[in-house]
């Protein structure tokens, strides 16, 4: 490694010491305005490419983490992350690919009602959040994913969601015609 300049070192130290991923502004608040944070991040990204530690961008935030191919030396004594139910995984995927999306829209895509617990579990994991109301009759609440979601699943942005461009091109992410589909599938649906 070539010893980096003090600006790069400062950004490196701040990211290394931080307990959570940091935005450009948060980094700048620590290292001061005299440092080109963007350039320092680019330098660090290059410096760490191919090492056992990597600098990654998750949403608008940056952090260091171990390289993905090192999982085998790290995993042994870790608890496996709590397994999400199938309903939970599908609901999370639907929110991530369609956000902001209402509960009724999620239910329409899955063809079943969502149990209350499903959204709660995703909120508790801090992967989804309420994202305002849709200005349609009933003003239903919409849901969207969070910065923690991107960070947890290793996505630089929602554009990194696997296959999202193809799905959109195929029209599979278009908003659902709710009135029609609910009438068709579940006329006795007593969902709230």
């Amino acid at each position: 490694m070539n010893p980096p300049d003090d600006g790069v070192r400062a950004v490196e130290a701040v990211l290394f010491a931080s307990e959570a991923p940091l935005t450009l502004d948060a980094i700048r608040a620590h290292v001061g305005d005299g440092i080109d944070v963007r350039a320092a991040l680019a330098a660090l990204e290059a410096d760490y490419a191919g090492r056992g530690i990597e600098l990654v961008r998750r949403g608008e935030r940056w952090h260091f983490q171990t390289a993905g191919d090192m999982a085998h030396v790290l995993r042994r004594d870790r608890e496996e992350a709590r397994k999400l139910s199938r309903a939970g995984i599908e609901t999370l995927a639907i929110i991530a690919y369609h956000e902001p999306v209402t509960r009724a829209e999620i239910e329409s895509i899955r063809g079943v009602q969502i149990s209350k617990g499903t959204l709660d579990v995703l909120m508790e994991a801090a992967w989804i959040r309420p994202a305002g109301r849709r200005e349609v009759p009933g003003r239903p609440l919409t849901y969207a994913t969070t910065a923690e979601f991107l960070s947890h699943f290793g996505l630089a942005s929602r554009r990194d969601l696997p296959g999202i461009d193809d799905l959109r091109a195929a029209g599979l992410l278009d908003l659902v015609d709710l009135a029609f589909e609910q009438a068709e599938v579940a006329p006795e649906d007593d969902a709230p």
């Binding site: 931080s18 995993r75 995927a93 063809g111 290793g154 696997p162 195929a170 589909e181």
Partner: protein, 264 residues
């Protein structure tokens, strides 16, 4: 039949789903529909069993399979949840609409309905695959790890005190004013003095023959605070004149009207 899955049922349902079909008693089987997440899920499972791209799917075949499945379930006295039967009814309608001569009035057309069903299956399938791919990503705490014992970043808050010159000067004015000797001035108020009342009552009482209320001795234009003052002073004047033997006073009871009459 107890605890076994009929061969013809296996044809229609994926292995993981069929394993949840269990014998309840001799002639009733119950399907644990937790295995399927609703009729759309079952339809998708059946569609995937056709082993073709969902876009090449024969909706008619799929509909027939679903209806067959529900028929078999009925024959076996399987208890299906209501939404499965609702879906069956709708698919039966779709099937007949697709097979019968076209009713040009019908909107949307059966082909359109079939297309939408296919789209819904595709969409569910896409989300299911997307979820699986998402879960397979490098996940923090499972595949990649953040630093376990970061030093942490600290923010130290420092107060910058602010005050304006006006605040300073006004504060001194306030302190000075507060500690300077305070002079009390009573504002001038309209009153009727006792002397004036004695003069007035003794003059008026001479002009009257009979009993008159004390209020009738007040100046007609007396209002507000002045009237109260005049009433109090006139009352005191009446007492004083009664003491001198110039007037008589009469009152039926407490708070009743007070009458005054000259003694002359």
């Amino acid at each position: 039949m107890k605890g076994t899955v009929p061969a013809y049922m296996k044809r229609f349902c994926p292995a993981e789903v069929c394993s949840t079909i269990a014998a309840m008693d001799d002639d009733t089987l119950t399907i644990d529909i937790d295995g399927w997440e609703g009729p759309l899920d079952l339809l998708l499972a059946l569609a995937r069993a056709q082993k073709v791209d969902l876009r090449q799917l024969s909706i008619l075949d799929l509909v027939q399979q679903y209806l067959d499945f529900v028929e078999q379930a009925k024959r076996l006295k399987l208890e299906l949840a209501a939404d499965y039967l609702v879906m069956a009814a709708w698919l039966a309608f779709l099937k007949s609409a697709l097979l019968l001569p076209r009713d040009p009035e019908q909107e949307p057309s059966p082909e359109e309905l079939a297309l939408r069903l296919q789209l819904r299956l595709e969409r569910l399938q896409a989300m299911r695959e997307a979820g699986a791919r998402l879960m397979a990503h490098d996940r923090v705490g499972r595949d990649v790890f953040a630093r376990a014992a970061p030093e942490g970043l600290r923010t130290v808050r420092k107060s910058v005190w602010q005050a304006e010159i006006y605040d300073l000067i006004a504060a001194y004015g306030r302190v000075s004013a507060r500690t300077r000797p305070v002079m009390h001035i009573v504002a001038e108020r309209p009153v009727m003095t006792l002397e004036a009342a004695i003069e007035r009552v003794s003059r008026l009482v001479g002009q009257r023959i009979d009993w008159a209320t004390i209020e009738s001795f007040l100046p007609e234009d007396a209002t507000g605070g002045f009237r109260k003052s005049a009433l109090a002073s006139s009352f005191l004047a009446a007492l004083e004149l009664a003491r001198r033997g110039k007037v008589e006073l009469r009152q039926q009871q407490a708070f009743a009207p007070l009458y005054v009459r000259g003694t002359a």
